[in-house]
């Protein structure tokens, strides 16, 4: 009887101490309810709660929590569709508010970030949305901070991970970029051709000018040559005239000899079978001399 009572008592002591001592690991806080009502929050380390009255209702993680915000389609102000996702870092600063103020803070914040992201990007043009990530981030944090404050949660940062156009938009943008490049290529090619044509024309012009100059020079020299030739002929004639003087007979003789030689050559040539000879060679030669 005595032993039995003592054993039961011992069991009770054991259970009481076992249930009363609570060790909270660093990075957590335990929310204690006394008879169903919030009583206190246990800090990391060794804690004692009154068994039978107090229960650990929630184990709250007080480390920073990273929330992966799933990718979603957002329509920009200029009706382009872009895909965007984000990551949020939150920290629970008031465990009772976080557990009693909202049923599930991670789902709530995830949805809040998604809707805020939609409304912020919805006010921007596609190009702005793609280029000003930092601004989106800041506005996003501002937008959700006030809402989550009542839940005892601080949003440390919200980072936009990816922000990219949807597939069809991406194709269109690529086409636009490709067209732009093609346009530039065409312009460059045309400019090249134009430059080549101008250079060719200039070359042709230069060549023509040089040719004309050459012709002019050649003609000039030709004329000069003719003048020199004429001068030489005049000189020769003058000299011949001077040499002949009044001694006509040797001249007549020389001329006659030449004449006869010419007639002989004429008669010997293959295609002249009929040769008309003047009857009076002397007179003919004299006629040549103009006497």
């Amino acid at each position: 009887m005595g032993f039995f009572l003592a054993a039961v008592l011992m069991m009770l002591v054991f259970l009481t101490i076992f249930l009363g001592v609570r060790i909270v690991p660093q990075g957590y806080k335990f929310v204690v309810q006394r008879l169903g009502k919030y009583h206190k929050t246990l800090n990391p380390g060794l804690n004692f709660v009154i068994p039978y009255l107090d229960t650990i209702a929630y184990r709250v993680l007080t480390k920073d929590i990273s929330l992966d915000i799933p990718s979603q389609e957002v329509i920009t102000k200029d009706n382009a569709v872009i895909m965007t996702n984000a990551i949020a870092f939150i920290s629970i600063i008031d465990p009772p508010k976080a557990v009693y103020g909202i049923d599930n803070y991670s789902i709530a914040i995830t949805n809040l970030v998604q809707t805020s992201l939609r409304s912020i990007v919805g006010e921007m043009n596609l190009d702005d949305a793609l280029s000003s990530r930092d601004m989106i981030k800041t506005r996003l944090k501002e937008a959700i901070s006030d809402d989550v404050a009542a839940w005892g949660i601080v949003v440390k940062t919200v980072e936009i991970q990816d922000i990219k156009p949807s597939q069809t938009m991406q194709m269109a943008m690529e086409q636009q970029a490709a067209a732009e490049r093609t346009r530039r290529a065409a312009i460059t090619e045309a400019e090249g051709k134009k430059a080549a044509a101008v250079l060719n024309a200039e070359g042709a012009k230069e060549a023509a000018i040089r040719e004309s100059e050459g012709n002019l020079e050649a003609s000039r020299r030709d004329a000069e040559a003719k003048m020199i030739l004429a001068d030489a002929t005049r000189e020769a004639i003058a000299r011949v005239t001077a040499a002949i003087g009044d001694k006509q007979l040797p001249a007549t003789y020389l001329l006659g000899e030449q004449y006869v030689k010419a007639v002989r050559d004429l008669s010997a040539s293959g295609n002249a079978k009929m040769v008309v000879l003047p009857s009076d060679v002397l007179q003919a030669v004299k006629g040549l001399l103009g006497k």
């Binding site: 003592a6 054991f14 001592v21 660093q26 380390g45 004692f48 920073d64 600063i93 440390k156």
Partner: protein, 150 residues
């Protein structure tokens, strides 16, 4: 029924203490220590009845537990505030950069090292603070810090 010798209790106690290593609940160790005390007490009084031994064991175990919480727990200090939510920022001091005029006008306070992801926070205070005053964080209420003049 075999007679229980004094050293049975001591061995039982030491086994319980050793069990604490395997099951870190920080409760078994006190029962172990209690059992050791019972064993040592049986050295001068070997004829203690079993019920008395059990009661003594329960008594000693409770005593050890209470002793720990009363005497030793106050020496357990937080060596780091990392991951302890608001405790990590309470007590930090910063410079007021925008005047606080209670009860309606919030000011802004700036810290050298960012707190919870921000260098600047809106702040409220019971007394008026002007820019340049040093202030200490008392609490965080939503996204507003409650501060006091340092």
């Amino acid at each position: 029924m075999t007679e229980i010798l004094w050293w049975y209790w001591v061995v039982f106690g030491l086994v319980l203490v050793a069990l604490e290593l395997v099951i870190p609940s920080f409760t078994i160790i006190w029962f172990g220590l209690g059992a050791c005390c019972v064993g040592l007490l049986m050295l001068p009084f070997p004829t203690l009845p079993l019920a008395g031994q059990l009661l003594l064991w329960g008594g000693f175990s409770t005593l050890w537990t209470v002793l720990w919480f009363r005497r030793f727990k106050p020496y357990m200090t937080d060596r780091t505030k990392a991951g302890m939510s608001k405790d990590a920022i309470i007590g930090e001091t910063g410079i007021v950069i925008q005047a606080v005029q209670p009860p309606h006008v919030k000011g802004r306070i700036r810290f050298v090292v960012p707190l919870l992801g921000d260098e600047e926070w809106p702040c409220i205070c019971d007394e008026a603070l002007k820019a340049g005053d040093e202030a200490r964080v008392l609490d965080i209420e939503g996204h507003v810090l409650r501060v006091a003049r340092k």
